[in-house]
Point group: C2
Chain length 95, copies 2
């Protein structure tokens, strides 16, 4: 697998313009999702888990009841990489 | 459903003695679980989700890769109740 390179600030801003709902929080890509209830929220988390495993790139997931909060960054690169923007984009399709 | 009453400090300490691995963090029951990998960690989270839904009592779940962190409290009671100790006990069986 090719190593993903840390994106520059300019590259991140450019990517954010096409990633609906995502912002930067604590140096990571971040989005909060709200659902009608826990079953829907956890169903979405399960979709995210399958995407993450298939990309071999794993998010920070936080869930309480109908809310899911996701942080994405690439530990090995020390920042946000194309792996994160790719996963964010697929998560948006799932949501 | 009967309302669960907030447990006293003494009651919480008594319950903790039989809840392996659980401590108090930020006024909530708290335990961290480590697994071999993400698939196992998320499988465990799914079990917790089914338990939570069947008890109609939902945890705060945090996951990154092989780590799952769980906080339990009862919002309506403003603290820890028997609902939390019951769910913690069932989570331990699942883990």
């Amino acid at each position: 697998m090719t190593e993903a390179k840390k994106l520059s600030e300019a590259e991140i801003q450019e990517q954010l313009s096409s990633l609906d709902g995502w912002t930067i929080d604590q140096g990571k890509l971040y989005r909060e999702f709200k659902f009608a209830n826990f079953v829907q929220a956890f169903g979405f988390m399960s979709q995210v888990a399958l995407l993450a495993e298939s990309l071999n790139h794993h998010p920070e997931l936080f869930n309480v009841y109908n809310t899911v909060k996701i942080h994405l960054s690439t530990h090995d690169a020390g920042g946000i990489t194309s792996k994160d923007t790719q996963l964010a984009s697929k998560i948006n399709v799932a949501a």
